[in-house]
């Protein structure tokens, strides 16, 4: 039995590929050394800032969601004390899923996740403009 989700679930891979090509054609699909699949591409915010991100599918996708990493520029979201991450996990991937809001459903694709990541960058820029004091939306922690 194959190890990778995209080998035993090619239909799901087709859905993912189609959704990304239609909504985010600037992204390319890549295979990492460890065998995971990832989309690499750049989002441009409404202020013109560009964020290069990597969306990585976990090996147990779709039982676990894809993770989005801001790789250029590398972004750290820390509180005023400079220690604690907000809206970002310790390995740097963005906190996009607030369990209570049930945003994502059974058919959510990487394209939906990228869209939520774009909203994350909107909030990030708002947070910067507020002097790192206010993040719009719900606090999950």
């Amino acid at each position: 039995m194959s190890t990778y989700w995209f080998e035993h679930d090619p239909v799901r891979l087709l859905i993912e590929n189609k959704a990304m090509h239609e909504r985010y054609p600037q992204f390319t699909l890549r295979k990492l050394d460890d065998g995971r699949l990832a989309w690499l591409g750049t989002l441009t915010s409404n202020t013109g800032n560009r964020y290069r991100i990597a969306l990585i599918y976990p090996n147990n996708f779709p039982n676990s969601p894809p993770e989005v990493y801001p790789i250029d520029p590398v972004i750290e979201v820390v509180d005023v004390g400079g220690q604690r991450y907000k809206h970002q996990y310790r390995d740097g991937h963005l906190c996009l899923y607030y369990p209570a809001d049930r945003t994502f459903g059974a058919n959510s694709t990487a394209a939906t996740v990228v869209t939520v990541a774009a909203a994350w960058f909107f909030s990030y820029e708002y947070w910067l403009r507020s002097g790192k004091r206010e993040w719009p939306g719900v606090e999950a922690d």
């Binding site: 679930d9 090619p10 087709l14 699909l29 295979k31 690499l40 790789i71 590398v74 740097g92 459903g105």
Partner: protein, 58 residues
């Protein structure tokens, strides 16, 4: 916990991503490198992914 800041990890990831092999998905959902003969054949034949049924999510 400053030693656990993600910068190193993210920069490592950036390098991994940039050197990662770009791939394409054929009409059967199999992954190929872009210059794979099967992909080129499908492109030449104008084949595209048609309707696919949504499947489960978590």
């Amino acid at each position: 916990m400053a030693s656990q800041r993600p910068v190193t990890t993210l920069e490592e990831l950036k390098r991994q991503m940039e050197k990662g092999q770009e791939i394409q998905v054929d009409q059967e959902g199999k992954v190929h490198i872009p210059d794979d003969e099967e992909v080129q054949k499908q492109i030449a034949e104008g084949k595209k992914v048609s309707k696919v049924k949504p499947q489960r999510w978590f």
